[in-house]
């Protein structure tokens, strides 16, 4: 295990940011800390990096107890949401920073005879890293002359330069617009497949986590809700919260399930099907979303079907339908059952 977090708690006054967190993150994987804003995921990341200290508990990185180590001794790379690039240095200088300041293997003082050789070695390494993040042609620019996406790639190259044992990214794409965010997301996945450094990134975007991560840790209100692969989380959510956070959910009878996991039938007969009335049909791109008033249920059910399927069903608002979960549908028990089950 690359990172072992044991019993970590952190409070700010009365507010419990993290309550007794235990998690181990395996070497070489890309892990997402996913959860709503203010849920404690960034705090956990900053505690791992040493930028904040835990009230109790311990953090172990690559087998060494890092709980009391200052950030500069932990050998972690940290990438901030707002890049935190050094504005007064060129792109190349930014990347070289971590390499130059090292006591061993860094840039020796001006009077040392090996300084020229150090400089050459660092220059080669910087060129290699800039190549990796596709910023070679911007080496001599200042960060202010780069776009947001380029700045974030620069921050990544800078963090990778010191060959950290773990790379920590705090909402790395949060400040970027949707299109650039999607590009960088793909790029991060490919980069990770190339360099294989243990990476943990914080996000509140479930799509981002599902798409990029090998493993997802869902954090809410300072607690871990579930840990698992994207498939596990999506197919076997541990509870209502995880289910709701990872995608759209609707209620049908005693369970909550995904709107596309409901079978719609214009005729009764299927065992366990609930009758209802279509109140609204909305077409969004390739899918059609029906709002159905289920008999004896307070909130309406949402059903999503493909455009082709909808055409075959040919349902208009006012039509009577029968609903039941598809076989193999992911579902969890609804939190407070406030309905009388009516079966036809």
């Amino acid at each position: 295990m690359s990172i072992e977090v044991r019993g970590v708690s952190k409070t700010y006054g009365d507010f419990v940011a993290l309550g007794d967190i235990n998690v181990s993150l395996p070497t070489g994987q890309l892990t997402a800390l996913l959860g709503p804003s203010g849920g404690g995921k960034s705090t956990l990341l900053r505690i791992i990096a040493g930028l904040e200290s835990a009230d109790s508990g311990s953090v172990e990185i690559e087998g060494t107890d890092a709980t009391r180590l200052p950030p500069q001794k932990r050998n972690v790379g940290f990438v901030f949401q707002h890049y935190a690039v050094f504005k007064h240095m060129t792109v190349a200088k930014n990347v070289a920073f971590g390499l130059e300041i090292r006591t061993h293997g860094g840039l020796r003082p001006p009077w040392a005879p090996q300084r020229r050789r150090d400089r050459e070695r660092i220059r080669a390494k910087v060129a290699e890293l800039l190549e990796l993040v596709h910023l070679s042609q911007f080496a001599h620019r200042l960060p202010s002359q780069l776009s947001g996406g380029q700045r974030q790639r620069l921050a990544l190259a800078r963090a990778l330069a010191v060959e950290p044992s773990v790379l920590l990214l705090d909402e790395p794409f949060g400040a970027l617009d949707a299109k650039v965010r999607k590009e960088l997301r793909d790029w991060l996945r490919r980069l990770h497949d190339e360099v294989h450094v243990t990476t943990v990134f914080v996000t509140h975007d479930q799509e981002e986590a599902l798409e990029v991560a090998d493993e997802i840790v869902v954090i809410n209100e300072g607690r871990i809700e579930q840990i698992g692969t994207p498939d596990q989380l999506y197919d076997e959510p541990a509870n209502d919260f995880v289910m709701g956070f990872l995608g759209e959910v609707t209620r049908l009878g005693p369970v909550r399930l995904r709107p596309h996991d409901i079978e719609l039938s214009p005729t009764p007969g299927a065992p366990g099907a609930l009758p209802g009335l279509v109140t609204r049909a909305l077409r969004v791109g390739f899918e059609v979303r029906y709002t159905v008033e289920v008999d004896g249920q307070a909130e309406p059910a949402l059903v999503v079907v493909s455009r082709t399927h909808a055409r075959a069903l040919d349902l208009d608002p006012g039509a009577r339908v029968w609903l039941r979960p598809l076989t193999g549908a992911t579902s969890v028990a609804a939190p407070e059952p406030r309905l009388e089950v009516a079966s036809a």
């Binding site: 500069q72 790379g77 935190a84 050094f86 504005k87 300041i101 010191v162």
Partner: protein, 278 residues
């Protein structure tokens, strides 16, 4: 309306600033007596008087040390105020501003009470180890430093607050020690604020009168700074020398203002550059 307002402002500045300064300037270069020579030569001759040279060199020395001390402590206090949370932080912040609002004369008086060898709280002890504060150059430096302290701090604090801690944290996660982070990241960031604060406190230190007047013996060749010299000569019917010295001080302030406005320019340019890129 704007025309009237503009006229009012110009008239106000003329009456308050331009005309009096013009008087000083014209009298500096005016012949002292009928038939005597005026102009630059006479002005320079007056400045070459040993007591005037002494006064200016003393003012220079005092200003140099006061600015140096304030720069070091100003940067330190600014970092403390912005980067650390501790009990009494707000009190400290107010205390730093105090020299701005308290009359310099009061500052001088306070220093005398605290450090004079006769009645001061620390004076006796310091005199015991051979250190005299009041009536010597260290006393003048202290008084001047006290008065100009907020100038450096108030320039640096807003810059530190604006840039935040991300870059510093990034540096430390890259392995930089506290000193390396300060020298390579923090200092370049606040560089222009420091320079600006230094120029301002230099101008303030050169012109300080009230606090210095109280702690200095104020006699010729004995703690007579440029400002005290002006006061002494003016009251002793040696007005031409007083005018000459005053003119030099005016020149120094104008120079400081020019330096400051030149410094402000590159700062704004870099800010604009920041905004252009998305």
């Amino acid at each position: 309306m704007t025309l009237a307002l503009r006229f009012l402002v110009i008239a106000y500045l003329a009456v308050l600033v331009v005309w009096p300064l013009w008087e000083v300037t014209s009298r500096t270069f005016a012949p002292t007596e009928r038939n005597a020579a005026g102009g630059v030569a006479a002005f320079l001759e007056r400045l070459q008087d040993p007591s005037v040279a002494y006064a200016f060199s003393l003012t220079g020395t005092v200003a140099f040390w006061a600015v140096l001390i304030n720069t070091v402590f100003g940067v330190g206090i600014s970092l403390l105020l912005v980067r650390y949370q501790f009990p009494g932080r707000r009190v400290l912040s107010v205390l730093v501003d105090l020299p701005m609002s308290v009359s310099p004369v009061v500052v001088g008086l306070a220093l005398v009470l605290a450090y004079s060898s006769g009645q001061g709280w620390f004076g006796e002890a310091l005199e015991g180890v051979g250190i005299l504060i009041i009536g010597t150059t260290p006393g003048l430096v202290m008084a001047t430093a006290f008065v100009s302290l907020p100038l450096v701090v108030r320039e640096i604090v807003p810059v530190l607050e604006e840039v935040g801690t991300d870059a510093e944290l990034a540096a430390s996660s890259l392995g930089a020690s506290g000193w390396q982070t300060f020298r390579r990241i923090t200092l370049p960031t606040i560089k222009w604020a420091v320079v600006y604060g230094v120029v301002l406190s230099m101008a303030r230190s050169l012109g300080e009168f009230g606090a210095v007047k109280i702690v200095s013996p104020g006699a010729e060749f004995r703690g007579e700074t440029a400002t005290i010299l002006i006061q002494n000569r003016y009251t002793n019917y040696e007005e031409p020398t007083a005018y000459a010295a005053a003119f030099v001080l005016v020149l120094a302030s104008v120079l400081a203002l020019v330096v400051v406005s030149l410094l402000r320019k590159p700062e704004h340019e870099s800010e604009n550059l920041q905004e252009v890129s998305p």
